[in-house]
């Protein structure tokens, strides 16, 4: 159901977004310090999509995210410390340091994975929605994906079959305007890469303000209600922007001058602060929450740094259901 976002809830959503923003900045800094290896795909700028959606979902709903998925893991309930520990190859990582930045997962809170093959998880979300119907629950499943995923086959196969089977699944596109290094508009035969395709699968769609946590919660709440009542899937296209480049190695020099600055003026935290002020929340209260978020992040960084490194023996666990890796006798 669409939550009634009063000042108390909005302040809480603002704090969650601030924690995610701070954690993403910390991940960036820890990488530069040599404490995070591999790569990262930071979601700074996308926080409102994750936090607004989570506010509108039930605890037992399912969420499937992409390799740019730190914000979804944390919005769903993974702690900043266990996420950073995962990035830092620590034993306390949310996936025991066997997944890494691109695969944050916390099944206990319905965060069923971050997928690094573009578009692959859309059919998974449809399958989880089918499962909910088979088991007679009122759960919905949500697939979050980027604008780049809308040109891959799995997107189209998932939308078609989810529509035909009227499954309780939400397809939420985080349109950050770029497919990796390429403007999405230059490689896509649609103005709105997700929303414009929905009609061809007889699905309703909305283009929403992905930087306004209240607008996201409202749209996701309505779509989830519709899905739970047997109304089938909805496609939402949330307009947003990533502050960093595509991945760690991308300085994003392809962006026109001034574009980032314009989006920073309409950043999810800026928008939420403006709404809080409009609701009459005192500046001091906002500042206090901002400071608390910063402390949460600092504590998480300290906790992750202090954690033990991954145990090399873990390389040989968790392949099979018996916990081991034996493939022959």
């Amino acid at each position: 159901m669409t939550p009634d976002v009063g000042s108390g809830l909005l302040l809480s959503l603002y704090e969650q977004m601030a924690v995610i923003r701070g954690t993403e900045q910390a991940a960036h800094d820890l990488f530069l310090a040599g404490l995070v290896k591999g790569t990262t795909h930071l979601a700074a700028g996308h926080e409102a999509v994750a936090v607004g959606s989570s506010a509108a979902l039930e605890p037992d709903d399912y969420v499937f995210a992409t390799y740019r998925g730190h914000h979804h893991a944390m919005a769903r309930g993974a702690s900043p410390a266990e996420c950073l520990a995962e990035l830092m190859s620590k034993a306390t990582g949310v996936c025991k340091a066997k997944g890494g930045s691109m695969h944050l997962t916390k099944a206990a809170v319905g965060m069923l994975g971050s997928y690094a093959i573009v578009g692959a998880h859309l059919p998974l979300a449809a399958g989880a929605a089918w499962s909910a119907r088979l088991r007679g629950t009122s759960q919905v499943a949500v697939a979050f994906f980027g604008d780049g995923a809308t040109n891959i086959g799995a997107f189209h196969e998932a939308l078609n079959l989810a529509s035909v089977w009227a499954l309780p699944v939400l397809f939420i596109c985080e349109n950050n305007q770029y497919m990796e290094y390429t403007p999405i508009g230059s490689v896509t035969a649609a103005d709105h890469p997700a929303a414009d395709r929905a009609a061809s699968y007889r699905l309703p769609a909305e283009v929403i303000d992905g930087n306004d946590v209240v607008a996201v919660a409202d749209a996701v709440g309505r779509a989830a209600t519709r899905a739970r009542s047997g109304g089938g899937p909805t496609v939402l296209e949330a307009q947003t922007y990533r502050h960093f480049g595509h991945s760690r190695t991308d300085p994003a020099t392809y962006r026109p001058q001034g574009e980032l600055e314009r989006w920073l003026e309409y950043d999810p935290l800026v928008v939420a602060r403006r709404r809080l002020t409009d609701l009459g929340v005192a500046e001091g209260d906002i500042t206090a929450v901002t400071a608390r978020a910063a402390q949460t992040v600092a504590d998480a960084v300290a906790e992750a740094k202090a954690a033990p490194d991954a145990d090399p023996a873990e390389a040989f666990t968790d392949v099979w259901a018996d916990g081991g890796c034996q493939w022959r006798t």
Binding site: Y62, F64, G93, V94, C95, K96, A97, K98, G99, G100, H103, T105, K106, A107, A108, L112, G113, Y115, I117, A120, H121, L122, P123, L124, A125, A126, G127, A128, A129, W130, S131, A132, R133, L134, R135, A141, G153, A154, E157, A158, N160, L161, V164, W165, E314, T317, D318, V319, W320, A321, G323, C325, Q326, W327, R328, T329
Partner: protein, 326 residues
């Protein structure tokens, strides 16, 4: 005499037994519902279990296997049918990148208890895109279990084990065996994954086979028996788990090994079996390990050409005689 059943009927029977036992078992695939499957391997299931548990899908392999995976992660035991194993290439991402890695890369948080069934192999003249034996594709990926039965009873018993395990299983049904007959399986029949069967005992040479190469190896063994040579034929039944204990024990008795596989020699599963025997059983051998595998060309259409490429009884008999003469 025990009841006889075809391999084709055994697939539907094996599925029905598990669906009756466990309401979380569901099937999905192209034309598997009222049509009963293009190979009639799901005949009768739609009538007994209804359209929600026996779901027809579009020609949409990504959605079939992807949805099966999502359902398997959330409390359902799906059995997805990919009509021809060649089409696994259309959804290979799920078999290569998603399904086998899920438990591992989440640190054990998520299981994917599903079965992907598929009609595999040649001998029916379907040409290069509908005849391949591709069990070696799956063998290249750690994290997938692989079953490939050769008899109707094993179809039922291995299907039961595949559906009940919390690990993902690729289940190769051989097209060339669908019409073959064998003894029906008793109620509750389960063949544990990873236990090879000695299909024919013998003391002179070991022949390791799988699926349709088992009857070929048995026919070759019978031919040699007329010359007083006793070949032991081992039906691997599964590639993962791979029962090398049974193979090595047999080679210990016979000191000679021939591997008969339908997938291509290049990258075929016999290479893995041979390397383990060379590594762990070198001193058991009195002759080189030999492999009869498909030639390294695409599968041709005409029977006369296809027979040149895939294993035949004559090729196996010839290879056995050559090895015994070594």
């Amino acid at each position: 005499m025990a009841d006889m059943i075809t391999y084709r009927e055994a697939v539907a029977e094996g599925l029905a037994r598990e669906m009756r036992r466990d309401p979380s078992v569901v099937c999905l695939g192209e034309d598997i519902g009222a049509a009963g499957g293009v190979f009639k391997t799901t005949a009768g299931l739609f009538a007994e279990f209804g359209p929600e548990r026996v779901r027809d899908t579009p020609i949409s392999e990504l959605a079939i296997v992807g949805m099966a995976m999502g359902a398997a992660m959330t409390g359902i035991r799906p059995v997805a049918e990919i009509m021809f194993s060649d089409f696994l290439a259309c959804c290979w991402d799920y078999l290569a990148n998603e399904i086998p890695k899920m438990r591992y890369m989440t640190g054990g948080q998520v299981s994917v208890p599903l079965v992907v069934r598929t009609a595999n192999g040649g001998g029916l003249g379907f040409g290069a895109q509908h005849s391949q034996a591709v069990e070696n594709w799956a063998l290249a990926i750690p994290g997938l279990k692989i079953a490939a039965p050769s008899t109707p009873a094993d179809v039922i018993g291995l299907l039961a084990a595949a559906i009940r395990t919390d690990d993902p299983v690729v289940f190769f049904e051989h097209k060339g065996l669908f019409a073959s007959r064998g003894e029906a399986a008793p109620d509750g029949h389960v063949v544990p994954l990873g236990q090879a069967a000695v299909a024919r005992p013998g003391s002179d040479i070991t022949v390791v086979a799988l699926a349709a190469t088992v009857p070929i190896a048995l026919a070759a063994a019978e031919e040699l028996a007329t010359s007083g040579i006793q070949a032991e034929v081992i039906d691997l039944r599964c590639l993962v788990p791979l029962d090398m204990a049974t193979v090595l024990a047999s080679v210990g008795r016979t000191s000679r090994l021939l591997i008969v596989e339908e997938n291509p020699y290049q990258g075929g599963w016999g290479g893995t079996v041979a390397s383990i025997v060379a590594d762990e059983g070198f001193e058991l051998l009195d002759a080189p390990i030999r492999r009869v595998a498909a030639a390294c060309v695409p599968l041709p259409f005409a029977d006369a050409l296809e027979d040149e490429v895939i294993p035949t009884t004559a090729k196996v008999t010839g290879a056995l005689r050559a090895l015994l003469a070594y």
